[in-house]
């Protein structure tokens, strides 16, 4: 399943693992306290003392980016989990049983895909309002249709295979067939979808927080940092560059990973 000879997969895995390592270390230790201000060292350029320089309050940008990347990753992790769990349930049941509920939900799904995901995210943010936990909920709901569609398609395909008929003849219950027999077989397809889900979640969180509709101060996030950094573009361009680079690395890592796992790398 993990094709280590595949260059795309390898590149994605390396970038993602390095980012996750930095984020994990950052939870316990950062070179400076991300919120410690230093009036004397405002807007210092990148250097040995401050790897990515300091911001308008003299805070160490590297520490802040690490913390922001952690927060963004946490939001992505939670929202993808919500989308995946609900998608597995809805997609699994409708794909397995079919019928009018299936028809209805798929029509609804088609309508939702008519909205560009950014627009849908904005609508959901308007419904759930901003803030860290509301954005997790909003993005989680945003991802349900995508996961449900993929799960449904795979379950419907697997259902027609002989091993399912075999299991049924042996008297295995529907729920057991669905969750114990079929689910393990759709993981390879799902993994790629999960990777692209992370990719979209990081992008969506950063976009919403950049617009000022997502994570609110004092909670950190890469998107919010970019929003702040834009005001200091003239005097401290390294601020925006560092936050943006972290977003790109996260997005790139998950995108390559998804492509290497056999997805088409597009949302």
């Amino acid at each position: 399943m993990f094709d280590l000879k595949n260059k795309t997969f390898r590149a994605g895995a390396v970038i993602t693992l390095v980012m996750l390592l930095i984020i994990t270390v950052g939870v316990f230790w950062t070179p400076y306290d991300p919120n410690a201000m230093d009036a004397a060292g405002k807007m210092a350029g990148p250097g040995l003392r401050h790897l990515f320089g300091t911001d308008n309050f003299g805070r160490d940008i590297f520490s802040r980016v690490v913390q922001g990347a952690g927060a963004t990753f946490f939001i992505a992790l939670c929202s993808v989990s919500i989308g995946l769990a609900a998608g597995l349930l809805v997609g699994g049941l409708t794909g397995y049983y079919g019928g009018w509920v299936d028809e209805l939900l798929m029509r609804l799904n088609d309508t939702l895909t008519a909205f560009p995901s950014l627009l849908l995210a904005l609508v959901l943010i308007a419904v759930f309002q901003g803030g860290k936990y509301n954005i997790i909920l909003a993005l989680g709901v945003l991802f349900i249709p995508t996961f449900a569609r993929i799960v449904r398609m795979e379950v419907a395909r697997q259902k027609a295979l002989d091993y399912v008929a075999n299991a049924r003849l042996m008297g295995v219950g529907d729920m057991r067939i669905l969750f114990v027999h079929i689910m393990p077989n759709i993981w390879p397809v799902l993994l790629s979808a999960v990777a692209i889900g992370f990719n979209n979640a990081v992008l969506a969180e950063a976009s919403m927080s950049y617009l000022g509709l997502g994570v609110q101060p004092p909670d950190p996030s890469l998107g919010r940092m970019l929003n702040e950094a834009q005001g200091y573009l003239l005097r401290a361009p390294w601020y925006a560059l560092s936050a943006g680079a972290a977003i790109i690395l996260l997005v790139l890592g998950f995108g390559l990973l998804s492509e290497g796992l056999g997805g088409d790398g597009r949302a």
Binding site: L108, P116, L122, A126, V127, A240
Partner: protein
């Protein structure tokens, strides 16, 4: 012809569902608009009177039908925050977003097709290899961050435009377009990267077909095969993708307008969501979503028109 009719039916149904969905979503928002509208003048009696004048006391279904009928006939209701109709609030903004989106779309089409072909032609050369890697990175670039980078590079370092000083279309279409070129670049570069990737993959998979072998055996060079035989076939999925990408472009312009302070629909949408000005937000959401649905419908029809194989299956 029958399929076109059927698809048109589906189109109308989808448009109705889109309006219903958007309307219901804004209904679900917690909170009472009257509290905000009245502000410090709030008394229960005034709130009740305002609810009645806004029609908020009637059932959801009745209000949806009312809203739909007036929306279609061009009456879009009144804004909560500005004391004018939504129509007046929107005036001038639609044109800005439309121009920005079209400009980005033209850039995507004009750059991605030659670039995609060039990357395949020089696949084994340094140009092809480096180009492909850069393309991968560009795909991961969020348009708003790219916008910040372009602002820094072209606005602050090279001073090719003044960030935040958008020239309205009425004051000078030329200067206005010159300003919009940079946001358009921010929107289109990641889209170009995605299109190039698709075109490259499409050409490479087409190269494995049997007719390519025949073309080679008649003494064609690799470039001749690509140019004369493969290109047209490989372009088909890309044409559909390009037609559909206008929708994504309109969506990315929502956020890029914010970066470049372009007074279009996107900035207005974000502002009206922050200000809880839901009549305005609802109108913009429905308008953008409808454009997307119609574009996808046209892309579908276009694919059928240019490829008889799709028509038959």
């Amino acid at each position: 012809m029958r399929t076109v009719l059927r698809k048109t039916g589906v189109l109308i149904l989808t448009l109705l569902l889109v309006t219903l969905f958007a309307f219901l979503a804004f209904e679900l928002i917690p909170g009472d608009p009257t509290t905000m509208l009245l502000g410090s003048d709030y008394t229960p009696e005034r709130a009740a009177a305002l609810r009645e004048s806004l029609g908020l006391d009637r059932s959801v279904a009745a209000r949806y039908l009312d809203w739909l009928v007036s929306f279609v006939t061009g009456d879009m209701g009144r804004s909560y925050t500005y004391s004018m109709s939504v129509r007046e609030v929107l005036r001038g903004k639609i044109a800005v977003t439309a121009v920005l989106s079209l400009l980005s779309w033209v850039l995507v089409i004009a750059v991605s097709v030659p670039l995609g072909v060039a990357l395949v032609r020089y696949q084994k050369k340094p140009f092809g290899k480096i180009g492909f890697s850069l393309n991968q990175v560009m795909m991961a670039m969020p348009p708003f961050f790219l916008g910040i980078l372009l602002t820094y590079l072209f606005g602050i370092l090279l001073k090719l435009f003044t960030p935040g000083k958008f020239v309205p279309l009425s004051e000078g279409p030329g200067r206005s377009l010159a300003y919009l070129f940079f946001p358009a670049l921010a929107i289109s570069l990641p889209k170009i990267a995605k299109t190039v990737k698709l075109l490259r993959a499409s050409i490479l998979s087409e190269m494995r077909r049997e007719y390519v072998l025949t073309a080679y055996s008649r003494g064609n060079s690799r470039w001749m095969v690509i140019k004369n035989h493969v290109f047209r076939n490989a372009l088909l999925p890309v044409v559909t993708y390009l037609a559909m990408s206008l929708a994504d472009i309109v969506a990315s312009s929502i956020i890029v307008e914010q970066v470049f302070v372009v007074p279009g629909l996107g900035r207005l949408l974000v502002a009206s969501i922050s200000n809880r000005d839901y009549p305005v937000a609802l109108c913009i959401v429905v308008m953008i979503a409808s454009v997307v649905v119609v574009m996808n419908y046209l892309a579908d029809i276009l694919t059928q028109a240019i490829d008889p194989r799709v028509r038959l299956s």
